[in-house]
């Protein structure tokens, strides 16, 4: 039953049709969440007693950082599914996630450094979290580079899936080694936001923003997948039928 649904959903024409129907609803949901999250975060949430208003960048920074890791895992899992069951859609989801994930990672790094300047007095600190986020960006760049380097897109998808799976095993090792490296070298000189039991008025907009980011990722993913499908299946019969309808 479940596998039947998966097979049906992963057939390109069906996916194309249903994703087209989902997109408007998702867009509405995204703007609702974003509107509420931004209003709550930028207007109603109280200023931090220590950081003043600069803390408000977390409403972009933290969701972006969460998404950067989430997207990598999605990329690896769907890549693995594509590798095992040869589902074309899973391969496309995997590679379409790569550049979105890289953008989230970049956004997290940029907003982090913008926040770091007034708070730490430096644009960049070799803090464990920053460094492992930077390494994550390199991993994304490797995936994108590998995909673009291989001519045949099916082969490229499989190569990317293998690399993403290797990366997913490595990320925890890298993360903890970097954390250890940092504590060995300079101790906890950099203040971590180590659960300072965030105020509920600050927390709710943050969670809403995280939801908005997730929906945004979903929208971007669907759009990219649809484009990629059209490109790869440009000889497919269902695309001809689609074009007929448009005329």
């Amino acid at each position: 039953m479940f596998m039947r649904f998966i097979y049906k959903f992963s057939s390109p024409p069906y996916f194309y049709a249903i994703s087209g129907k989902m997109l408007p609803w998702l867009t509405v949901l995204f703007f609702l969440l974003l509107g509420y999250g931004l209003y709550g975060g930028l207007v109603t949430a109280p200023a931090d007693y220590q950081q003043g208003d600069s803390f408000r960048i977390i409403y972009v920074h933290v969701p972006a950082a969460w998404m950067s890791m989430f997207v990598y895992v999605v990329m690896a899992i769907s890549g693995g599914i594509g590798l095992v069951w040869r589902i074309k859609l899973a391969e496309i989801v995997s590679i379409s996630s790569a550049s979105i994930g890289a953008s989230f990672t970049f956004l997290a790094l940029v907003t982090g450094s913008l926040w770091g300047k007034p708070m730490w007095g430096a644009w960049w600190v070799w803090d464990a979290r920053l460094t492992s986020e930077l390494v994550l960006l390199f991993l994304y760049l490797g995936v994108i580079g590998l995909y673009n380097g291989i001519e045949d897109k099916r082969t490229a998808s499989r190569a990317v899936a293998i690399l993403a799976l290797v990366g997913v095993v490595n990320i925890p090792i890298i993360h903890y080694s970097v954390e250890w490296w940092n504590t060995l070298h300079q101790g906890a000189t950099v203040t971590k936001l180590d659960k300072p039991s965030i105020h509920i008025d600050m927390l709710i907009p943050l969670l809403v923003m995280a939801g908005a980011f997730k929906v945004y990722y979903f929208i971007a993913l669907l759009l990219r997948c649809r484009n990629e499908l059209l490109e790869r299946e440009s000889n497919g019969k269902w695309i001809d039928e689609l074009l007929e309808k448009v005329k």
Binding site: I150, I162, S177, V178, W180, W181
Partner: protein, 227 residues
């Protein structure tokens, strides 16, 4: 027809690579020369102040070793891919990941073991203490095989590409981060007189993890590159 056991096949692959390398002895010098030259660049750029060199010597030696490994790893499957013997290896009844492991062991013997003999000399030139050099050698012994094992995955993935070189570095270097951290951390700790067993245990763990896990994706990537 005589069939060979998996163990014999493992030995045969190593032996073949060693013989091939012996026929082209001159090429064995290249990674060593590269290693020495990269290390020479640092005193030239930083100035010859002894305390400074001593302080950063482990980092320099490890980064140089990492780059030397990156440079030589590109040849891991290249020649076999070009002359078609890689396809024959894929077609043998033996598990490809075991044969891959043999290739990596041969590569380690040829490119990393010689470094172990030069590294103490480099350490002396950078004014490291002799007991610290011992720790440095241990980290190289434990860490270099991991570099070859992880590099093998990326080499297998980029095998069919025309411009694999730069891509290889991008794929591999982020994955080298943990080993670099633990290795130079161990040498640093030894220099300050702290115990190093923690670092070395972590490196051992990573080594065994790499030996057991990396041949699988490498074999999968090879099959993909050949198909």
């Amino acid at each position: 027809m005589k069939t060979s056991s998996l163990f014999q096949a493992f030995g045969a692959v190593i032996k073949r690579d060693l013989v091939l390398a012996y026929r082209h002895r001159a090429e064995l010098i290249n990674p060593l020369a590269f290693f020495v030259m990269v290390i020479t660049l640092f005193p030239l750029a930083l100035g010859a102040e002894i305390t400074l060199l001593k302080r950063i010597a482990p980092a320099i030696i490890w980064v140089a070793a990492l780059l030397a490994s990156l440079m030589s790893i590109d040849n891991l499957f290249r020649a076999d891919y070009d002359d078609g013997s890689l396809e024959l290896m894929v077609m043998t009844p033996h598990s490809l990941s075991v044969l891959v492991l043999a290739k990596v062991v041969a590569h380690w013997l040829l490119s990393s073991v010689p470094l172990l003999f030069i590294a103490p000399l480099m350490g002396l030139m950078l004014h490291m203490d002799s007991d610290v050099i011992g720790v440095l050698l241990l980290t190289l012994l434990l860490g270099m095989p991991v570099l070859s094992l992880i590099g093998g995955i990326a080499v297998a993935l980029t095998l069919g590409l025309r411009k694999g070189g730069a891509l290889l570095a991008i794929l591999v270097l982020p994955l080298y981060v943990p080993i670099l951290i633990f290795a130079s951390g161990a040498v640093d700790a030894a220099m300050s007189g702290f115990p190093v067993s923690g670092h070395l245990s972590m490196m051992c763990a990573i080594l065994f993890l790499a030996i057991t896990l990396t041949p699988l994706p490498t074999a999968a990537a090879l099959k993909m590159s050949l198909s």
